[in-house]
């Protein structure tokens, strides 16, 4: 099952920033809600997301319960050399997700 949708340009000019977008499938349960029987639903949000560009961390974010379900993040990375963007994230239950995308620098 795909856990996320990622958008990076196929080609990026060297030295210029390019746009990275990621949409992660996650309920982002706040911990403030109760189920139909009144029992509290435990908090479960994505707590940390990192993006590595050829192994080097170029972006990381700590997410909180204030962020809506299926979080969408958009940021810019400077194109240095062709390679791989590796996204990794983890939620309160310790479930890890990861996705890869490749970019060619011209």
């Amino acid at each position: 099952m795909p856990d996320a949708r990622i958008s990076v340009p196929q080609e990026a000019p060297r030295g210029k920033p390019f746009e990275v977008r990621i949409l992660i499938r996650h309920p982002m349960e706040t911990g403030y809600r109760t189920d139909d029987t009144g029992k509290p639903i435990p908090r479960n949000v994505v707590t940390m997301l990192t993006c590595r560009y050829n192994g080097e961390t170029v972006f990381s974010a700590r997410l909180s319960p204030g962020i809506a379900a299926n979080p969408y993040l958009r940021f810019f990375v400077t194109a240095r050399e062709s390679g791989e963007l590796a996204f990794d994230w983890v939620d309160d239950r310790g479930v890890r997700g990861s996705e890869r995308a490749t970019v060619t620098v011209v």
């Binding site: 795909p2 949708r5 958008s7 977008r21 949409l23 499938r25 309920p27 379900a69 299926n70 969408y72």
Partner: protein, 258 residues
């Protein structure tokens, strides 16, 4: 000859011509046109539109074989991109095999139980939403064109009756908001025309994708009326009437709404 004449008359009497609609096509508006710029942008961008997560998941399910019969949706229907193109715009539809008017979700479950020989999926379950979103996505941009003649006529008439019937503690009918007062404000919301083009759609209030039936139940809850159970024939009848009422508007599934 009399029989031929009777059929001829039935075709005209049974048909529901477009001019019967309270709103002509030129005045029909999708619900998204009543939404703010940020919601419109979210729907227009496939990467920002969370509904696409369900569409992607639906594609995986489409190609997955059922253990009991070894059949996947794709075994019979092939690539949905071609076989399902435009199909969802004709639902709800009378299905002869089931002798009933079925909406898209019910049709998928009918196919599952009859052809794939697997249990039906629960209404509003993630898998059923994923499949219906994936199938509906293949008809994106296709104008709604349901048939309300012949066997579907009775369901259509019941749906129309439901639409004009006052319901619940607030004692109001669908038509009072969506025909007589659309475009005006109801607290923070602008009242839409009630055209079902977004569904299955992502509703920000739900933080999830949901079916048209879920949306209809939410509306009935809002007017403090009794909500028919998910999958109840009353809701399917109403879906059919709404689809006919919105005929000509393009399907947007998966749409985004507040």
């Amino acid at each position: 000859m009399w029989r031929a004449l009777a059929v001829f008359v039935a075709c005209f009497a049974g048909g529901a011509p477009a001019q019967e609609r309270l709103l002509p096509l030129s005045e029909l508006r999708s619900g998204v046109t009543f939404a703010g710029a940020n919601v419109r942008a979210m729907q227009a961008d496939d990467l920002a539109n969370p509904g696409m997560l369900w569409v992607e998941r639906g594609e995986t399910l489409w190609n997955r074989s059922a253990a009991s019969s070894g059949k996947a949706c794709a075994s019979c229907h092939g690539a949905a991109q071609t076989s399902m193109r435009g199909v969802a715009a004709h639902y709800p539809k009378y299905v002869g095999d089931a002798s009933a008017v079925l909406d898209l979700e019910a049709r998928i479950n009918d196919c599952r139980t009859r052809r794939q020989q697997v249990p039906a999926l629960a209404r509003e379950s993630e898998d059923l939403l994923a499949l219906s979103a994936f199938v509906a996505y293949q008809s994106r941009g296709a104008p709604l064109a349901v048939s309300v003649d012949g066997a579907a006529r009775a369901a259509f008439d019941r749906g129309r009756e439901f639409y004009f019937q006052r319901h619940g503690q607030m004692n109001i009918a669908c038509t009072q908001c969506h025909d007589q007062n659309w475009g005006k404000r109801l607290l923070a919301e602008t009242i839409s025309q009630g055209n079902p083009t977004a569904f299955p759609g992502y509703r920000l209030e739900w933080q999830s994708l949901g079916s048209l039936q879920r949306r209809l139940r939410a509306c009935l809850f809002g007017i403090r009326a009794e909500m028919p159970a998910p999958g109840a024939p009353e809701l399917t009848d109403l879906e059919l009437y709404l689809a006919w009422r919105a005929q000509g508007l393009p399907l947007e599934a998966p749409g985004v709404r507040r």
